[in-house]
């Protein structure tokens, strides 16, 4: 029987149709995966099922009865719970306080909270589901995998029958992903229905009973998992044969000359704890060095230090023999380092400024754009037009702001800007996150072309497939340290997975 169903569910934001007449049905105690490209409309659909967004038209049915959801509390009342991709936890509060948020227990008739009682209840729940959690730990002190379990626990406490998870494996190591899949299957045994939004097709094949494919806001396929394959799903998602990235063919040899050398780089956080610990590596001319690792193991901090946004407490950085340790961003660019930052709207672009203004960011001192402190608007606009043409950037209004662009096109502006400055080394951090497949292919090609000119690329990514397909050598980060170095020709996913989880090749924990 269908536990939850949508009929003609539609959501419009102004003129933009995010979800177009979606018909979805989920059977009781099945695990269904919803797949689609970035921006296809999966999250919008789930937000409507959880009451965070109101449908423009269409119906939602629970056990064949129509319901109207005014907000998350309504959804929970109907037995629908959601675990978001970006956790909605309060860091300074404890596990039990987060689980009980909104449903606290008071001491008798007083408004004072009964902390002992709350801890007892949460501990009992943890025991029942076999999660490894300590109720009195503060969220800011526990691991990412544990935080996700707190999120799931929050929903289980509220007795949901349907659990929706939005891209749950984005922040987990391969081993933690396996653990999660085991937990989800256990929950199914206990009578829960699970809906998982993901774009990782391997996980879809391993976990789900049925799959729904969404493309550009419409349902393009409803299949039983056993009847389909990764390739078929990929084709449905993009509407054409996707060549899953293979290891890049090399046209040139890697030289032996070291381009970029980092030794013992260390930095600490506000409590004095090391965020990155004695990191040492080098990049040769004509080489792409991939830095693998689950997000949150120091990669962001490493990039911040290497791009001048954070100071190191120890260690050195050299580019072709020149000391670049702890210099500021302006100096870095002048010395030939290009940067594709991790958060394109945080560090790479200014959403509320025009496209032209963004095209010269980082280069506003250049004589071509600026003389005696005055900016040459015509040159800037010419440069913008050149980028649009050469990098196939799709723009509605050329005078508009960056906020009007899609993720992929915005990312291309950054790529264009950095590559056109002709740097020696490109630091590319999560270069294709949240980008549509067409732009991903384009950006990957650009990186390879850049490398083939004898330059170097430092690629940091949590998409393992990206690392494997582009890198010549791979290093792995775990808890702020470098835990392994592998050549891409010989490596297996299993090896990397273990290293990403902190287990050394000898089998002991790092």
């Amino acid at each position: 029987m269908n536990i939850i169903q949508t009929v003609g569910l539609t959501k419009c934001f102004g003129d933009f149709v995010a979800n177009d007449s979606i018909d979805l049905s989920v059977e009781e105690t099945e695990i269904k995966c919803i797949v689609g490209e970035n921006g296809a409309g999966k999250s919008t659909l789930m937000n409507m099922l959880y009451g965070l967004l109101w449908p423009t038209s269409g119906q939602i049915l629970i056990r064949n009865k129509e319901i109207k959801l005014k907000g998350p509390t309504d959804a929970i009342r109907h037995g629908i719970g959601m675990v978001h991709q970006h956790f909605k936890l309060v860091n300074s509060l404890t596990v039990y306080e987060n689980v009980m948020l909104g449903v606290e227990v008071n001491k008798g008739r007083t408004p004072i909270i009964d902390q002992k009682e709350e801890i007892k209840k949460v501990a009992a729940l943890i025991e029942q589901y076999g999660f490894q959690l300590n109720p009195t730990d503060k969220i800011e002190d526990i691991s990412v995998g544990s935080r996700q379990r707190v999120e799931i626990l929050k929903m289980l406490y509220r007795n949901v029958d349907i659990l929706i998870l939005d891209e749950p494996t984005a922040v987990l190591t391969p081993q933690e992903v396996d653990e999660l899949m085991v937990n989800l299957k256990k929950l199914r045994e206990q009578g829960k229905t699970i809906i998982v939004i993901t774009h990782k097709l391997r996980e879809v094949m391993e976990l789900s009973d049925s799959v729904t494919v969404i493309k550009q806001g419409k349902v393009v396929g409803n299949l039983k998992t056993e009847d389909t394959s990764e390739g078929e799903l990929a084709q449905l998602m993009v509407g054409r044969d996707v060549v899953l990235p293979a290891i890049s063919e090399r046209n040139t040899d890697i030289s032996e000359k070291v381009l970029y050398e980092v030794k013992n780089l260390t930095t600490i956080n506000e409590s004095g704890k090391e965020l990155i610990d004695r990191i040492s590596f080098h990049v040769k001319e004509g080489e792409i060095l991939g830095v693998a690792g689950v997000e949150g193991n120091g990669q962001s901090e490493l990039v911040k230090v290497l791009t001048g946004l954070m100071e190191s407490t120890a260690g050195t950085v050299f580019l072709k023999g020149k000391d670049l340790t702890n210099i500021w961003p302006k100096q870095l660019r002048k010395n030939g380092i290009g940067i594709i930052p991790e958060d394109r709207y945080g560090q790479g672009l200014c959403k509320d400024m025009s496209i032209a203004d963004n095209c010269i960011a980082g280069q506003q001192d250049d004589k071509g754009f600026c003389r005696l402190g005055i900016l040459n608007k015509k040159c800037i606009c010419d440069r913008r037009d050149k980028y649009i043409k050469d990098y196939d950037i799709r723009i509605g209004n050329v005078q508009g702001n960056v906020s009007d662009l899609s993720g992929g096109n915005a990312q291309k502006i950054i790529v264009a800007r950095e590559l056109e400055a002709n740097p020696q080394l490109l630091i590319a951090c999560q270069p294709t996150r949240g980008v549509d497949i067409g732009s991903i292919e384009f950006i990957h090609k650009q990186l390879i072309m850049f490398r083939d000119q004898g330059k170097g690329v430092l690629l940091i990514s949590s998409e393992l497939s990206e690392i494997l397909s582009l890198s010549d050598r791979i290093i792995v980060m775990f808890k702020g340290r470098l835990v392994g170095e592998l050549s891409s020709k010989e490596v297996t996913k299993m090896q990397i997975g273990l290293l990403m989880a902190g287990i050394s090749e000898r089998g002991s924990s790092l």
């Binding site: 500021w328 961003p329 945080g346 560090q347 672009l349």
Partner: protein
Amino acid sequence: MKVNKVKYLNGLINTVLPVFLAFLIGGIAILAIGENPLKTYWILMEKSLFTSKGLMNTLHYASPLILTGLAIAITFKANLYNMGVEGQMLLGGFFAGITGAYLTGMSPLVHKVICLAVGVLCGMLFALVPALLKVKCNVNEMVVTLMLNYAVLKVLEYLATGVFRDLGSGYVATPTIQESAMFNRFGASSLTMFFIIAIICLAIMYVVMKHSKLGYEITAIGKNTEFAEAAGMNVKRKIMIMMMISGALSGLAGAGYMMSEQFKFTLGFSGSPGLGWDGMLIALLGGHNPLGVLVASIFYAALKTGSDNINLYTNVPKEIVAMVQGLIILFLAVKFIKRRAS
């Protein structure tokens, strides 16, 4: 192009509507005490804008306001809340007055230049304090500048009643400045060279904000400091530069006001609520843009000079103007027509 026209129109409505609403509510208050709001408002505007002498007076009073408005605009654009413009202005005005009074035997041109320079310097140095604190210790500049305003006011009170007091005067004041330091009036109005100086500063700031690299950087910093830093704009250094420019403009405002209108420092030098706070209204009304600041200064100066006339011709207390001022800021805080979220 149509998109830009709509944006422009929205901006205009966003500015005019708050003013209209504020006057409306003020009008209700005037009605409540039995007076005629339209008559009151007409008197407010008529004498200050529609007679040539009145207009000159208005422009004269607008001069320091243009400068304090610019001082606030340049920092608010970068999301730096420099509330210390009032204090920086007072400091500049005070020491310009001292220099004007005690330095004798100078040629008029040299004397004026020195006094203005002293004012600018004082403003700059005083603004340096919160700037350094912000950059070195990441202190909230809003709270610090507010505290320092009160501190500087007390210090100047002390100096004016003590060391620098003019014993010949009946109330608390510093000695009147020398003739060589006073700005000469053009004709019968009170308009002076100071107005021209203010306009020149405005023109310079316009070029800086719209066409220079610094203006680009200030805008970027105001929208996203992380982006600005990553793009190589040394944000900390720019913050210092912005605060110092702001302080310089404030000090210049105080100095010029001293030399063209007050001629001595008294406890009511800055009026009520104060030229610095007026500057805040003007910057907000002008959308933190130099041209907007110009229009807003003239409008506001007209209100101020007009308010004295209200006292003469009606029974409405002149505080009605200050009330309307508060209401304008209140309504300006909200954008009535927002850009449609994409």
